[in-house]
């Protein structure tokens, strides 16, 4: 099947095209209805394969010029269809970073990235409530130096699919451009990157298999009648005080106590053990287009607020340069809403100087179901 782009020049041509569409039952993509065809305006028509010859001959006969917009519709469909996990090929170079991936695919990806790069090592972080293994990737240039660390986690909320997609993209970008980009090499001379592609693994899987808009983890409460704690309300930072619910049926249920969830504890343990070396804590969410600074649990500004804001504003400006996307910068409690027990607040409270929450695209048009064709621009600008 092909899609043809035609701009009819005269009313006569328009009539002929309308006739062609209705007699051959062609699939009109633009405009929506045959009667809306106008001379001088774009037409996109999908022609089924067996009719292609006939249609083109008819167009030639009537001196109507056309361009082929899509040479093979099936090919395009196949390319954009999410891959079945069973047929996923093994080579990392073939990994499609502009598609959303299942957790199984992400596990395979992490193992292969590690095997194929000297810079990357995969590390055990902990186990989820459903007993799945959590891994983070360490990107580190071999050296004797004791380097400072930047930590980034994605996918703390299951439905925010663009977030794990960004973590994967980030790793790819660093590795692909390490050789050619002196900035990246310089960066890695002094810093190690710790990347957790999916924090809430059980929730992420649940959003693929069962409920696309699931947010929390999958811990069981209330005698087995209710699932899920909001992991971003479960950290020990003014836990349970504001912007939370004590009821499991709420999406912002903060859990039975601070760090009650194994996923939270896994992250806490690692970060605590390295906290004197961690310079920056980043946690990636969607949607809203914000770069958020501490705190959510109080409007009292953090001690290094000026510096935090300055860095964030510089980042937002750089981000906007790429595609014009605007991100708002400010403290969570002031520009978004109050919440306690967030990982961002906790990181700053234990002494990590730079702690940011990124809320990626968009501003509500698609919200959580951001189309895969926005993965690339979102990731490129955020990079």
């Amino acid at each position: 099947d092909q899609v043809l782009h035609i701009v009819p020049e005269t009313l006569q041509q328009v009539h002929h095209l309308q006739h062609l569409c209705s007699t051959l039952l062609l699939d009109l993509w633009k405009p929506l209805l045959p009667e809306d065809m106008k001379a001088g305006e774009d037409l996109h028509i999908r022609v089924p394969a067996p009719l292609v010859q006939e249609v083109k001959a008819s167009l030639d006969q009537h001196m109507i010029s056309y361009k082929i917009l899509i040479h093979d519709v099936q090919e395009l469909v196949d390319q954009s269809t999410p891959r079945e996990t069973s047929s996923y090929r093994q080579i990392p170079e073939d990994y499609n970073y502009t598609q959303y991936h299942t957790m199984e695919e992400i596990y395979t990806w992490m193992a292969h990235i590690q095997n194929n790069s000297e810079l990357v090592t995969q590390h055990y972080l902990g186990k989820t409530i459903e007993n799945r293994t959590m891994y983070y990737l360490q990107i580190s240039q071999p050296s004797d130096k004791n380097k400072k660390i930047i930590w980034m986690d994605c996918g703390i909320h299951a439905r925010e699919w663009i977030s794990p997609a960004f973590c994967q993209w980030f790793v790819k970008e660093i590795l692909q451009n390490y050789e050619s980009d002196p900035k990246i090499r310089k960066f890695l001379q002094n810093l190690d990157l710790y990347i957790l592609p999916v924090l809430n693994i059980d929730g992420y899987i649940y959003s693929w298999d069962t409920a696309r808009l699931w947010r929390k983890n999958r811990s069981l409460h209330m005698n087995g009648t209710c699932y899920g704690t909001d992991l971003n309300r479960n950290f020990n930072s003014s836990w349970g005080t504001v912007g939370v619910s004590y009821n499991c049926s709420s999406e912002i249920f903060c859990g039975s106590g601070p760090e009650s969830e194994p996923e939270t504890r896994a992250v806490v343990q690692l970060i605590e053990s390295k906290k004197s070396d961690i310079l920056c804590y980043l946690t990636i969410h969607s949607y809203g287009q914000y770069i958020l600074t501490p705190y959510g649990s109080t409007t009292k500004p953090p001690s290094n607020n000026e510096e935090l804001m300055h860095v964030a504003q510089t980042a937002a400006a750089a981000l906007m340069e790429k595609y014009g996307t605007s991100y708002e910068v400010g403290s969570t409690s002031l520009i978004l809403y109050s919440n306690s027990g967030s990982s961002q607040d906790w990181a700053h409270m234990i002494g990590i100087p730079f702690s940011y929450t990124f809320e990626l695209r968009d501003k509500g048009t698609y919200g959580f179901v951001l189309p895969a064709d926005q993965i690339q621009p979102t990731c490129e600008e955020t990079m």
Partner: protein, 196 residues
């Protein structure tokens, strides 16, 4: 305003839903009263001219009226954010309809976005109206809840939509009961934008 409520004065720019292109600016006042629905006054300047907007609305309307078999669909957009080309007008209709629901449900402290259309079903009518039944999912902030609403709408071209709805949160708590939005009050709020 002591004893009465809180009044907000707003000046904001609008953009087209899908393209993000500028669509004009508006001035509005919202008075949140203690015991009844807020009072809203709004005035907008459209960047596109009214005739063009009418024409696009008309095309949109005729496409939906043109269907000989009722459109029935689920999950718009799908999990990966995709929307079938032929369903874009259905998405657009749901956006307009859900905006009435969201307007009525929102308060000084809760806001909404349309997260997804779970189901859409068209009813073909003998008269000239367009009729659809939807199940829509609304993302509520700051609670982060997903509210499920049954929305029934009727559109007669040139008139504001008639929208009836009933919402529950996905946790099956029945909230607020049903409501109806139609007629004159909605007249000033009726968005006539095409270009979704």
């Amino acid at each position: 305003i002591p004893e009465v409520g809180v009044k907000y004065y707003l000046r904001f720019a609008t953009t087209y839903y899908r393209s993000g292109q500028e669509a004009g600016s508006c001035f509005a006042t919202v008075l949140y009263l203690k015991k009844s629905l807020p009072e809203v006054f709004i005035k907008c300047a459209h960047s596109q001219d009214q005739k063009q907007i009418q024409e696009e609305d008309s095309r949109f309307y005729r496409y939906l009226r043109h269907q000989t078999k009722p459109i029935i669909a689920n999950d718009i957009p799908d999990s990966h954010g995709n929307i079938e080309h032929g369903l874009l007008p259905v998405w657009a209709l749901a956006i307009v309809g859900s905006s009435y629901v969201m307007l009525e449900k929102s308060t000084e402290n809760t806001g909404y976005f349309l997260a997804q259309i779970r189901a859409a079903k068209q009813w073909i009518r003998k008269d000239s109206a367009v009729e659809f039944e939807f199940i829509i999912l609304l993302h509520e902030t700051p609670t982060q809840e997903i509210d499920l609403c049954h929305m029934h709408l009727i559109w007669i071209f040139g008139h504001p939509l008639t929208v009836k709805y009933i919402c529950t949160s996905e946790n099956h708590r029945l909230d607020d009961g049903s409501g109806q939005e139609s007629g004159s009050a909605a007249g000033t709020l009726h968005e006539k934008g095409g270009n979704f």
